[in-house]
Symmetry: C2
Subunit: 164 residues, 2 copies
């Protein structure tokens, strides 16, 4: 329902015009960038490894923590609810990619680790994943990378600083 002359930006930012507030613009651009990258990664993971982004993320967190993580730690790091983590853990456990073992000190917690099979499986995916991300972001220079990192760090600080 656009007339021909309209410049169509087919994403979130299309909602905006010049009078709108700068912060909203920034937020929508951030959202657009993230969504674009996320969708490409999701599609590739499905096509080439028949898996999903949440499952990849789950395994990535474990790969970075050789001593394992509790369910709660996984939930926090993945930024999703506890129930969500439980469900994904059930799947991966059923496929023999992770182990869940009790902790001596605290019978409330479970320690989740990658199995050998899981670690091998993840290694393949991680290499491809890194190639894809570099493909998407690699056109930025070292300096630009650093600048954006710094700016996003400050942005993050501002958001984190707010209560609740």
């Amino acid at each position: 329902m656009n007339d021909e002359a309209t410049v169509v930006e087919l994403n979130h930012e299309s909602r905006l015009q010049s009078e709108d507030h700068q912060s909203i613009r920034l937020w929508l651009r951030l959202l657009t960038c993230t969504n674009m990258i996320e969708q490409r990664l999701r599609a590739r993971l499905r096509e080439e490894f028949a898996t999903t982004l949440p499952r990849f993320d789950f395994m990535a967190q474990l790969d970075r923590a050789p001593d394992g993580l509790t369910m709660g730690e996984l939930s926090q790091r993945m930024m999703v609810s506890g129930g969500n983590v439980s469900g994904i853990a059930n799947q991966l456990s059923g496929e023999g990619l992770i182990d869940r073992s009790p902790v001596p000190d605290n019978r409330r917690t479970l320690c989740v680790t990658l199995t050998d099979k899981g670690r091998k499986r993840f290694a393949d995916m991680a290499a491809a994943h890194e190639r894809w991300v570099v493909e998407m972001l690699g056109n930025l220079s070292q300096v630009e990378h650093q600048l954006i990192m710094t700016h996003l760090a400050q942005l993050k600080r501002g958001v984190t600083a707010l209560e609740t």
Copy 2:
């Protein structure tokens, strides 16, 4: 399962260490920032307006397009699947917030518009939404805003430029 000395960054970036590639770091920081903001907005919309982010986004796209949008246009702009848009449209239509009317030229397409009720409802939410975003991003200076916008624009170009 972290020992005491470990610095715990409770988000996606915790997966990384210094040897990892810069592009991955940038991607994960982007993802973390977006998720943090998204979760806050989602919680606020639920608490104060008993609605969801996708529903807000749907209405926001329509508010910016007084002549209405087709389902496909909504899908593209919201960056979600067609089936998703159908579901949200059913809800909003059931609540009398949008209209779906056939288009004379093309019986395949539907033109979706906000009802008066929908437009009023959205106006309230949009004002609050803008306050929340400014609260989160407003600590950045004008100059920083502009810098990040520019950098993200270039990042976006790089991603868009890829085939598929």
